[in-house]
Amino acid sequence: MTSTPLGSPEIYRLTVNGESHDVQDAWLGESLLYVLRERLGLPGSKGACEQGECGSCTVLLDGAAVCACLVMAASATDADIVTVEGLPTSEAAPLTDVQAAFLDEGAVQCGFCTPGLIVAVHHLLDHNPRPTALETREALSGNICRCTGYGRIFAAVDAVVASRAEQSAP
């Protein structure tokens, strides 16, 4: 990262996806989204509006789904931050069930909204494993998609709900 005269010499520490990162030389006004993308090498979260009006930058902050563009990065020290890059995957299972469902149901076109939506859907289903159609819509009402019209996205959520219910059935 090129250093800038705007930057502050102090270092602050962010915990992202379980790892600790030192941030140095940052300008105070930088949002968490900016720091993730431009300083921490985590460009998975996307910026489409910088105003919290599109949800493309959705990350988990202490378990809550928030817009990273509205978090002042330097104030998020000691918070537990999870981005799309930090969702529970492994070499054996490189995609979460939500990610796989998005692909299977055709819910990905340009893909710009996709990371934020994936995080939002994980958050929804972790808190509400059997949402009604309206609950799903309301929970995702902060995530704008311009390509799909949402139909395939709802289908993906339904598919995950069904498969998780099957797995947890006695």
Partner: protein, 769 residues
């Protein structure tokens, strides 16, 4: 070939043959090759690109819609630490102007700025914030002028030209048959459409990396047409095209907004000036100023018909406000006027259309390209005609529906398959949504979480819309697409310059190769200018044109493969075919896996695919100017709260003429996505411009449909393969967003009895007089 229809309540239909098809071939729901990186957040959009030693670039834009530049003083900006370059018009080494059709737009404004947001200067610095401060320190002395904002004033010719090319970008008249024909029924109306924005999610972004000798560069760019960008960039840089290499950076949606130059030239100039990589990206506000929008339009139409509601003549006057620069207005206008009759038989017509120049924001391509405006008008007219003739909205449309071979008012026979009647009937046959229950959740009522309505405040309405849409480019444009297919030792590699903007061409290309060549794995080479042009990802053309090119290149390679097998086994090549993943002798018993048959071979074919030639229109608008057409019908069911004027679109039903479903899931995505955009235009999306100033350049006030605004979508696919189309498939991208808007407007009229004449419909249009 049997056609297939299927209905669904928001899940895709697989064609009945799909299960018999090999996975990943044409007709199946093949997986996207870029899908895994996209869901993991690893897919590199242009916005994600980064280079060692890079600087950030930013653009200074005019705050005025019309002004003369008296002076530009950059000394203040140079005092800011971290600024490495500042450019204005005098720093453009090559051609100072660019443009898709007319080169009337400036890299940087010289003596005049003609729209709010016109670029005046650019800077490069070490941090985006440094750029912002540098821009703020540039002092431009403007003499503010009175903007021209009314297209009628431009047409009347009462204002001096605001541009050397004049205030009329184009005028076209269509005269067909008997201009004095009339009938017992005459209905007329004025229709207005506001300025919609493409609002793709991935804001404009590019990374320009200069060559070491400073005589060329590599530009990573999210765009719809690499070669057209390269041509304009090279001309403005004063460099030969071979030294300007463009690579497609990941594209976060387009919908027409990436056809024109935005930051390409600025980014390249800064790179050459500084000798360092330059990253430029727009925020959402700048994005609204940085690209063209859909033309706002005012259309008057008058239909003359028999007492039975059969159209005798149409008259229309269409005014499209092109804003400050020409962009693609000349072509948008032609689409508008040539589609004035809609998908209906019409023997006589008098149509006048203008694209005007004003100091309003420049307008150009957006999904639907002029036909959206025409369709809103002609469908409003069809409902008036229905009422006057005592027919239902469905009956009047069936009665006038175009058939294959019927002529447009330009004289061109519509020899594309034209299943208009089927579109209407199948749409009408799709199940209606259930009635709103008395205990309906507040979220499903108009007003949503705002809890403005109770069940008793809500009225339901139904409306219809039908559209014809041309496919590909028109008016004699020599459009083509290039593709290269290589088969080396059993591995197929495709190369093309086709812009993938989310529509899934990268997936389709693999499906084509798998089908033609019997391989499972198909590699895709980088999408860049190291191969010939594929034309624009627009006009619903890529499946036909780039699909046609890939198909043709694969077929040529297959021919060579068969020749090789034939020679080895002493068989006529004509007897050979691909079956699954084998080469087989259709008469004998030879069967060899393609991988084995191609071992040791290096087959390599590049093809340019062209569609048939089209013509210009003469001064009466007569000529075969379009290539092909697709048709679609929509039915919208809306719930309205008439007292507050709030609308909830409950369900949209559609039957679309697609030729052939090459990837049914992908078709579903285009249909649902297009419907959402048409819905946005109907009830919520508008760039509000007052005196040339944009009032709502943000997602706070430019409203896109959310999950709570999305209707249930049910659809039927009409697969009557088009004999002209190389894969039998018509383009599917545009039709879904065209007739849904008038269908929703009609449904609102049905629910409220109000004469809705404009979209987007605002609450006050419904509840106040």
């Amino acid at each position: 070939m049997t056609d297939t229809t299927g209905t669904t309540t928001a899940t895709a239909t697989a064609t009945t043959q799909a299960s018999a098809l090999r996975h990943g071939t044409l007709g199946t729901n093949a997986a996207r090759p870029d899908g895994v990186p996209k869901v993991q957040g690893r897919f590199a959009f242009s916005n994600d690109l980064w280079a060692e030693n890079m600087l950030w670039g930013a653009t200074l834009r005019s705050p005025h819609p019309y002004a003369r530049i008296k002076s530009i003083d950059v000394t203040g900006a140079w005092k800011i630490a971290g600024v490495e370059a500042i450019l204005t018009a005098e720093d453009v080494p090559g051609q100072p102007n660019y443009g898709l059709i007319r080169q009337d737009q400036h890299v940087f404004a010289t003596s005049y700025v003609r729209y709010r947001g016109e670029p005046v200067a650019a800077v490069a610095a070490d941090h985006p914030e440094t750029c912002r401060r540098a821009l703020a320190a540039i002092v431009v002395d403007y003499e503010v002028l009175e903007p021209l904002t009314d297209p009628e004033v431009a047409i009347a010719g009462t204002r001096e030209p605001i541009h050397p090319d004049g205030n009329i970008i184009r005028h076209q008249r269509i005269l067909c048959g008997d201009p004095d024909a009339t009938g017992p029924i005459v209905v007329e109306g004025d229709y207005e459409m506001g300025m919609q924005d493409q609002a793709f999610l991935g804001p404009e972004a590019a990374l320009a990396v200069p060559d070491d000798d400073g005589g060329g560069l590599e530009l990573y760019i999210a765009t719809q047409w690499l070669h057209e960008d390269r041509k304009q960039v090279a001309e403005c840089l004063g460099l030969p095209e071979e030294r300007v290499r463009l690579v497609l950076g990941g594209v976060g949606g387009a919908f027409g907004a990436r056809e024109d130059i935005s930051l390409q030239v600025h980014c390249s100039l800064l790179a050459l000036r500084t000798g360092r990589p330059i990253k430029m990206q727009y925020g959402r506000e700048e994005s609204f100023y940085g690209h063209v929008h859909r033309h706002p339009a005012k259309i008057w139409m008058r239909h003359h018909a028999t007492a039975d509601g059969v159209i005798i003549k149409i008259e229309a006057r269409m005014v499209f406000d092109g804003g400050a620069y020409a962009s693609t207005s000349p072509a948008v206008l032609i689409n508008g006027v040539t589609h004035a009759q809609g998908p209906y038989r019409c023997p006589n017509a008098v149509v006048d259309g203008w694209a005007t120049r004003t100091n309003n924001p420049p307008c150009g391509a957006m999904r639907g390209f002029g036909v959206v405006q025409a369709c809103f008008a002609h469908e409003g007219q069809m409902d008036k005609l229905a009422a006057a003739a005592g027919l239902s909205p469905v009956e009047v449309r069936l009665r006038n529906a175009m058939r294959t071979g019927d002529p447009l008012i330009t004289g061109q026979p519509v020899d594309s398959v034209a299943p208009v009647e089927r579109c209407i009937r199948e749409t009408d046959a799709l199940p209606m949504p259930p009635d709103l229950p008395s205990d309906a959740d507040v979220l499903s009522l108009p007003g949503g979480t705002g809890r403005t309505a109770d069940r008793g405040h809500v009225v339901r309405g139904v409306g219809y819309g039908v559209a014809i849409k041309n496919l590909m480019y028109s008016e004699g444009f020599d459009d083509y697409s290039t593709a290269r297919c290589q088969l080396n030792d059993g591995i197929v590699t495709l190369k093309f310059a086709t812009s993938e903007v989310g529509q899934g061409f990268v997936m389709l290309a693999q499906q084509i190769a798998r089908t033609i060549l019997g391989v499972d794995e198909v590699m895709l080479d980088t999408i860049d200018t190291q191969i010939g042009s594929s034309g624009s990802t627009s006009a619903s053309r890529q499946t036909w044109m780039s699909g046609g090119a890939v198909d043709a290149a694969c077929r040529k390679v297959r021919e060579l493969l068969f020749e090789s097998v034939a020679a080895k086994h002493g068989l006529p090549a004509l007897q050979l075919a691909i079956d699954g993943t084998d080469v087989v002798d259709t008469i004998g018993s030879l069967r060899i896996p393609v991988a084995d048959a191609s071992a040791g071979l290096r087959l390599d074919e590049t093809v340019e695919y062209r569609h048939r030639v089209t013509e210009d229109l003469d001064e009466n608008g007569q000529g075969n100017c379009h290539v092909a057409f697709a048709f679609v019908a929509h039915r919208a069911v809306v719930d309205v709260d008439p007292e507050l004027g709030l609308v909830k679109v409950v369900q949209v039903a559609t039957a679309q003429d697609i030729g052939r479903a090459l990837n049914p899931l992908s078709v579903a995505g285009q249909i649902e996505g297009g419907i959402a955009q048409g819905l946005g235009l109907a009830v919520m999306e508008e760039i509000i411009v007052t005196d040339g100033m944009v009032r709502n350049a943000s997602f706070t006030d430019y409203l896109l449909p959310t999950t709570l605004d999305a209707p249930t979508v049910v659809f039927s696919l009409i697969e009557e393969p088009d004999p002209q189309a190389p894969l039998g498939a018509k383009g599917v991208g545009e039709p879904p967003c065209i007739s849904v808007t008038p269908a929703i407007a009609a449904a609102i009229r049905d629910a409220t009895g109000r004469d809705i004449r404009r979209v987007p419909v605002r609450p006050q249009d419904i509840c106040l007089s």
